[in-house]
Symmetry: C2
Subunit: 168 residues, 2 copies
DNA sequence: TTGAATTTTCAGTAATTATTGAAAGTTTGA
DNA sequence: TCAAACTTTCAATAATTACTGAAAATTCAA
């Protein structure tokens, strides 16, 4: 496979993976493009490479910035903004984890804790089943949340070293 | 909060979480309903509780079965099929992980390995950046994949015990 | 200040994804 | 073997999500 084909396939694959995990396909494609770019790219270049409109490019770049995966780069003597992606994969994983935790896990955690306190006849089997499940889920989400905290304060080799040390 | 409100909120919350993670909202809601049901439910009951059509209920139940999260239960002397969800949260987490690994991670892993072999001028900075990123991503996905394997062969208390033992 | 360059917004539209409901298919007891 | 009970399929439709492009807002050099 040559470079041009490889690039195209990477952008496609990353976009598909993103959409399978609830991330806008185009945002993932912009991310893919920036991940393999040796230099910062302008909005124009991103529009051009992915054949998307200015509005679309702008919104998805902003979104990537709000995930801390991309930042602006200012080139002296140039009015345009350029964009550069974080390239370290462990750092990328941490930033995605941090945002998903904040945006999606913690709100659910709070709801589950609320739901552990529903009032109702404890001898009623529906209420019993509900409360049991809320307790189980609440406990699990708490542990997941703490696991993410550990990961966020680790470096890659320590983290995987610990996790994988028992492979046969 | 009373039971009826709590149930409604749990179904809503689980559906929202699912959709944020790329899972059909209704499938997640059917799952939520079955998770808190003390007995197997029929298609009719699911349609009724969630106000969805027969076709929709049927497709999402099939989907949950294909994820190994739900199975059929046959009641002697009854023609209808009833559905029961796996209730153990660690088992649920494993089954979801197993399927996402199989359906989404492994295909990406294979593509990334392919992409590590793109032909091209190594002195070209675009090619260099591309290859470096494919190597980094390939290595990372391999480690994630192995981590999931460990998790799949662990029990909950061992897994979290190991992971959380270093919390200050 | 001014105005050209650039970025952002957002109403309208397109594309994608999910749902309905009725017809076709299957199963099972008599 | 029949036919009622039940499940599955899928074309049509609805709902949701994403995208465009032009206008508005912003920035900045002169």
């Amino acid at each position: 496979m040559n470079f041009a084909e490889g690039k195209k396939q990477f952008i496609q694959t990353w976009g598909k993976l993103g959409s399978e995990w609830g991330i806008n396909r185009t945002m993932a494609q912009v991310h893919a493009l920036l991940l393999i770019a040796p230099k910062p790219l302008s909005t124009e270049e991103i529009m051009e490479e992915l054949s998307i409109s200015r509005g679309n490019a702008n919104m998805n770049i902003r979104d990537l910035i709000s995930w801390n995966l991309v930042h602006k780069e200012l080139v002296p003597g140039d009015r345009k903004e350029y964009f550069l992606a974080e390239k370290d994969i462990w750092e990328i994983a941490k930033r995605i984890s941090r945002e998903r935790k904040r945006r999606e896990i913690e709100p659910v955690k709070n709801v589950l804790h609320q739901l552990q306190e529903v009032e109702g006849d404890r001898s009623n089997e529906d209420v019993k089943a509900f409360t049991d499940m809320m307790n189980q889920l609440g406990g699990f989400v708490d542990k997941m949340d703490k696991s993410v905290d550990i990961m966020l304060s680790s470096d890659q080799s320590w983290f995987f070293g610990m996790l994988l040390k028992l492979i046969k």
